[in-house]
Amino acid sequence: MTKVGPPESDPEALLQVRNLKKHFDNESGLLAGVQLDDEFPYVSRSTSDVRAVDGVDFDIKEGETLGLVGESGCGKSTLARTVLRLLEPTEGSVYFQGKDLASLSGEPLRRMRKNMQMIFQDPQSSLDPRMKVGPIVEEPMKAHGMLDEEGREARAKELLEKVGLDPQHYNRYPHAFSGGQRQRVNLARALSVNPDFIVCDEPVSALDVSIQAQVLNTMEELQEEFDLTYLFIAHDLSVIRHISDRVAVMYLGNIVELADKEELFENPQHPYTQALLDAIPVPDPRSGGRTALLSGDVPSPIDPPSGCRFRTRCPKVIQPEEYDMSDGAWRNLVEFQRAVERRAFEETDPDVLRSRYFQDAVPSGDAGTLLDEALGHIERDKFEDAERILVERFADQSVCATARPAYEIESEIGDGRHYSACHLRRDEAVATAVDEATVGGAARPGTEAPEADD
């Protein structure tokens, strides 16, 4: 039996993704293929899962382009492959044209697959070097029993022309083409079976900027002509801004913000999105460069931070309710705690550290007492003890650590829905699905998770 649609089904949605998770166990996942023997003892084994995609919800409307952006390793490609069922989800569902993909198998699944194609980043390795371009384009048609030989050849030539190549090059091998041209061959191949939906995983990232622009323009023209719906993945926000209708921002296996393009770029409501936008270099020497930068690395997806996953790097992490510090004192404390965790200094003299980290504002009251205690440990060169106090009594007490945020807010630009996974939005939220019992980072938003999309 084919199940129809998720509960809050939207008739306009071509694709609906609900609470999708993909975990790898360490051996089959990231470290698969790494040699583990006594000669190379530096790969540590761990039995815990890599939570590559960890509870993702979104819709894609027919004919739109949803941009998916995030730093490398945040789970974009795993999400794309799991949506297409090239990877088996650990949990959650994907509905395509209202049908639950998990409920399909055999011929119906094959037919559904024909409607969903994928284009990869590296145009070099995704084309078989021993096959000529024509047969490469025809391959999917053949696999799906489309047309006869003559018909396929005619269609392949027509498609080559559509993607901006010379149909005469039907008989050429991929190596005779440039990177941009090879990506066009990939486009022609994906289009050959007349799909409704194409997942594009960093399709222009490997190309020179001038070639990128050509390929992006072609992709837009093809979308128009063939009524295509795109899930477009990139780490480059400029590319995302150019091509998308709506944008989802991903961080460490979660979507942290989702809104219409203009809304997201002009009115970002998640500190991570803001940080990403601030980090983009602008091709203008008078722009003054990038503003505030994020510090620290993305934490491991094996043991992600509880609550909000961005909290270990967030410049706006919220002060725990039990303290009553000035904002300045709290910010200084957070910066100091992160410096201690990173062992960013060797200094042990409390007075020097105070004047370095707490020049303009010092925590008082209970917080002040705890800080004194931590500084005392550092003076005795006990960095671990200082770190423990700072983390357990401050960082871990923040709402950012104790509850996983999920809020829907009103858009300022346009009337699309705007989802932000940040507790700073709790007062203005029109809907929330915050799960308080999420310490450990494993829990998912409650069942009334706001749909950031429609």
Binding site: H169, G180, Q181, S210, Q214, F265
Partner: protein, 373 residues
């Protein structure tokens, strides 16, 4: 201006392949002054990497530096002279291979590549490699070198450097590995660091941090840099002066502000116009038509004439050398484009040519195929 730290004159580097002679670097000239960050920008295959390996005399067979002069702090890294019979031979004062290896490379001129794994050995710890490098190059004892290594790791922002010291390269993220390489480059306090697309493979957030760090370190140590990139945003952010390369040649050279606000060469304009912008929604991108031709058989006249929207008949006939645009003798802004008055060869009266730039949708396509990567 004072004597430049590095001066490159009419450098030519070629590869002798089965298909013919690849004129990868075809007569480029530029200077790097003390404390300056000089950009070398262009698309892949423009010759940026060949140019930088030429400066270190690291061009491998079938490649060879065939002409020009490279001077560094008054010494000759490369230079030819005619012998009695009209043949070219290396000048006497040209540094020997041993001098290059022992004194120049790594010590006075350091290089950082795009892929840090190429420079780090996966079976040794990061700290151990850095320590050994310092020991060898700075004649320090093991303990002293270790202390120095940890200090440098901390300086380039590696978290918990004491414990990270004992980890292996694969345990570091891409950004951290690149920091380690910068640490290595800095370890000998060189006068010049050549950075070949060091942040291209990194996320913007990490790239931003690294560029910030480089700017700080550059100020602190007054090191000069040659920064190789294809990214105009990086150029805007970090460079003082910029050289734009197209097909083996430098076609425009200017201070960074002039390059963006007083652009003289149509290729530079095209490069700037083809980029999507993060800070505004651009409805239609204006890509450069076609792909860069092969360096084996470069087009006649101006090499950019085929995609150039401003090309005229004369562009096909005359090969423009870079000329001064500002009119002053200091040479602060040069461009190799005949449309400018500095050339005065009848561009204005020459008829426009039908170029790919006026072609239709399928102009994305080359007859030769293949793109240098």
């Amino acid at each position: 201006m004072s004597e430049p730290l590095l001066s490159v004159r009419d450098l030519k580097t070629q590869f002798f392949t089965e298909d013919g002679t690849v004129r990868a670097v075809d007569g480029i000239s530029f200077d790097v002054h003390e404390g300056e960050i000089v950009g070398l920008v262009g698309e892949s295959g423009a010759g940026k990497s060949v140019a930088t390996s030429s400066i270190l005399r690291l061009v491998d067979s079938p490649g060879e530096i065939v002409g020009g002069e490279i001077k560094f702090k008054g010494e000759t890294i490369f230079g030819l002279e005619e012998d009695g019979g009209g043949e070219l031979r290396p000048r006497d004062e040209m540094l020997t291979e041993e001098e290059m290896r022992k004194r120049i490379r790594g010590r006075e001129i350091a290089i950082i590549f795009q892929d840090p794994m190429e420079s780090l050995n996966p079976v040794f710890t990061v700290g151990g490699q850095l320590r050994e490098f310092i020991e060898i190059n700075r004649d320090l004892g093991t303990d002293e070198a270790k202390g120095e290594a940890i200090d440098i790791l901390r300086e380039v922002g590696i978290p918990a450097p004491e414990s990270r010291y004992d980890e292996y390269p694969h345990q570091f993220s891409g950004g951290m590995r690149q920091r380690v390489l910068i640490a290595m480059a800095l370890a000998c306090q060189p006068d010049l660091i050549i950075a070949d697309e060091p942040t291209t493979a990194l996320d913007v957030t990490v790239e931003g941090e690294i560029l910030e760090m480089v700017k700080d370190l550059q100020e602190k140590y007054d090191t000069s840099f040659i920064w190789v990139t294809h990214d105009m945003s990086v150029v805007a952010e970090i460079c003082d002066r910029v050289n734009v390369m197209y097909l083996g040649e430098i076609i425009e050279q200017a201070e960074v502000d002039d390059l963006f606000y007083d652009t003289k060469h149509p290729y530079t304009s095209a490069l700037l116009d083809s980029m999507p912008r993060p800070d505004e929604t651009v409805d239609e991108l204006r890509p450069i038509k076609g792909v860069m031709p092969e360096a084996i058989d470069p087009p006649s006249g101006c090499r950019f004439h085929s995609p150039c929207p401003e090309a005229r008949e004369v562009c096909r006939e005359v090969h423009p050398e870079p000329r001064e645009m500002s009119g002053d003798a200091e040479g602060t802004h040069t461009a190799a484009c005949v449309k400018h008055d500095a050339f005065d060869i009848g561009y204005d009266t020459s008829p426009p040519i039908d170029t790919e730039a006026t072609g239709g949708f399928s102009a994305g396509f080359t007859e030769t195929g293949g793109e240098a990567e």
